[in-house]
């Protein structure tokens, strides 16, 4: 097991290194000179030269990269071109908002996706199974920003139950905070619920076909006892790793959902940065999300190793 973990850990380093190179090279795609954008109104050659020197833009590309990655490794993501604030601080400020949304979205996804998958598998081939599967596919095919707009139309405009937009932090007023985040969290959780449902269903179908399940049935155990006590724990092992993989879906979804519900989180940070041509922030956001994703996957692999007794060798 230790060698497996070491081998997996050794894979992470080159991947993260490549991620950083790709993120760094993003800037090269940009038409035009970043110094010109930064200079704004003052386009005197001296001002531009000064900016180029400050940002190391006048050095060769490999030197620029080493300078940048050296700072990043020390936790310095640079400064926002527009707000002039350290990017790390900006991210730290927005992250709790998206974290709250994400945790709530995952709660929705687990509460809907796993039971739905279990029921569909246990009733395989019946109208219940087709209904659940159709709903799952519909969930996957609905763009979440549209789902958000439709919910605002129904719940806020017509029924007047919840505020259509805005955000109140948990610490300020937890009731208001939940009221402002429950709709966006449902929207975010919807796509993940669909994915979880599909995977739980197929894992459960595979587990229900195993010999030990047949033995349990032969012992005369009730149908749901077999499903929940014998098949489910084994079926859930592969589903665990999905949680980490869905982190990407969550963040991608957060970009649009936060835009629709005007929530000042991580997703809104990147969209605002794009529109303000604050490319340093865009770069950092990509770097931070990719790094988190790689580390989360590693954690999920470790968890998978722990949960699956067959992989727990000497």
């Amino acid at each position: 097991m230790r060698t497996r973990i070491a081998a997996r850990a050794a894979q992470i380093v080159p991947t993260l290194l490549l991620v950083s190179v790709l993120v760094f090279l993003l800037q090269q795609l940009m038409p035009g000179d970043p110094a010109l954008i930064l200079a704004g109104e003052d386009r005197s050659p001296e001002a531009i030269a000064q900016i180029r020197a400050e940002l190391w833009l006048d050095r060769p590309l490999p030197v620029q990269y080493l300078h940048w990655i050296g700072n990043v490794l020390q936790g310095d993501l640079g400064r926002s071109w527009r707000l002039r604030e350290p990017i790390a601080a900006l991210i730290a400020e927005k992250l709790p908002v998206t974290l709250q949304l994400g945790v709530m979205a995952f709660a929705f996804a687990l509460a809907i996706g796993i039971p739905a998958g279990i029921i569909a598998a246990a009733r395989r081939g019946t109208a219940v199974d087709y209904g659940v599967s159709a709903l799952g596919l519909a969930g996957l095919s609905t763009p979440n920003f549209w789902l958000g707009i439709m919910l605002i139309l129904l719940v806020s405009v017509h029924l007047g139950w919840l505020p259509p937009s805005g955000y109140v932090p948990l610490a300020v007023d937890w009731r208001q905070s939940l009221a402002t985040t429950v709709m966006p969290a449902f929207v975010l959780g919807n796509a993940i619920a669909a994915v979880l449902m599909r995977h739980t269903r197929s894992a459960m179908i595979a587990a229900l076909g195993q010999d030990y399940v047949r033995t349990a049935r032969a012992k005369g155990l009730s149908r749901w006892s077999v499903v929940l006590r014998h098949a489910l724990p084994n079926a859930l092992i592969p589903v665990v790793t999905l949680g980490a993989l869905e982190f990407g879906t969550l963040l991608s979804g957060a970009v649009l959902t936060e835009q629709v519900f005007t929530i000042p989180g991580f997703g809104k940070l990147i969209v605002d940065a794009v529109f303000n041509r604050d490319y340093a922030v865009v770069q950092s956001v990509v770097l931070v999300t990719a790094t988190t994703y790689v580390l989360l996957n590693f954690a999920a692999d470790l968890l998978y190793l722990r949960l699956n007794p067959r992989l727990r060798d000497g």
Binding site: L18, L22, M150, V255, L256, V282
Partner: protein, 276 residues
């Protein structure tokens, strides 16, 4: 191939999905003929009119016919879906084929690159690429295509590894066929089926991605119609003109659902275990 198509058409859901896609494609290609009005023609006497006989989906904030804009939007969405998947497969399949066939350091390099790209959440990478390239439909297609490429690298690499170890490849090698010829003539045709399934599902994902980028203002630029940008504009008139938000979203949903259903059907039709 004809056997697969026949099998596919025998599945009612997949056949219906295919029919919807064909109808959408025809509407998109024939948009100038099918659309009842000019999609960009503003009319100050018909601003935000609810759906009626004259305007089946109502009119928008500039008095433009929503149905005509939805039909023209199909043009942009399907084009974006197809072109970005062609870019993704065009870049990803050759790389995956080489990685899986040559193995060794080439494989390690290509695979790590795919890993690194897959580490970035799909839409965030697409947004970043589109932002750096500049907002336009063409750049959105390039951004989505590049972002979707690593999936094709992984899939074609895995399929190539599988096929390359079969006996008939050994046979081809034994009779002295050149390596590049084996790769192109014998391996490539055999990895097409899983790629076809992935391609169909990727079109669905690409259409959502294009709508998302256009919604954020990074795709199709106004006044040219696209479903995503129509939804963006619709947000401002949610109370007065809800139809502006309903129809473009419905169009995305139906299109994406059809491609997902077709992809699922195609997977079943190509899998010998689930042949109808």
């Amino acid at each position: 191939m004809t056997a697969t198509l026949r099998d596919l058409l025998r599945r009612p859901v997949a056949a219906a999905a295919l029919a919807v896609i064909v109808a959408l494609l025809i509407a998109a290609v024939l948009a100038p003929l099918v659309a009842p009005y000019d999609p960009d023609a503003a009319s100050w006497s018909a601003i935000r009119k609810a759906p009626s006989v004259a305007h089946w989906m109502g009119t928008d904030e500039n008095g433009r016919d929503v149905l005509s804009r939805v039909i023209w939007g199909a043009h942009a969405s399907l084009l974006a879906g197809l072109v970005s998947v062609l870019i993704a497969a065009g870049a990803g399949v050759p790389l995956g084929l080489v990685a899986g066939y040559v193995r060794g350091w080439t494989d390690a390099g290509i695979s790590r690159l795919a890993d690194a790209m897959l580490a970035c959440p799909f839409l965030i990478l697409a947004i970043a690429l589109a932002a750096f390239l500049g907002p336009s439909l063409t750049n959105a297609m390039i951004a989505i295509g590049i972002t979707a490429a690593p999936v094709f690298v992984r899939l074609s690499r895995a399929a190539t590894l599988d096929v390359a170890s079969s006996d008939f490849i050994e046979g081809a090698r034994a009779v002295g066929t050149r390596e590049w010829r084996i790769a192109l003539r014998h391996v490539l045709p055999n990895i097409i089926p899983p790629l076809l399934v992935q391609g169909t599902l990727s079109i669905a994902a690409a259409i959502i991605a294009e709508a998302s980028l256009s919604f954020l203002g990074l795709g199709q630029q106004p006044p040219a119609p696209s479903w995503g940008s129509m939804l963006n504009a619709a947000q401002r008139f949610l109370t007065q003109a809800p139809w502006l938000a309903i129809f473009p979203g419905l169009a995305i949903f139906v299109t994406v659902l059809s491609f997902n259903l077709l992809g699922d059907g195609l997977r079943d039709a190509l899998d010998p275990r689930t042949r109808a």
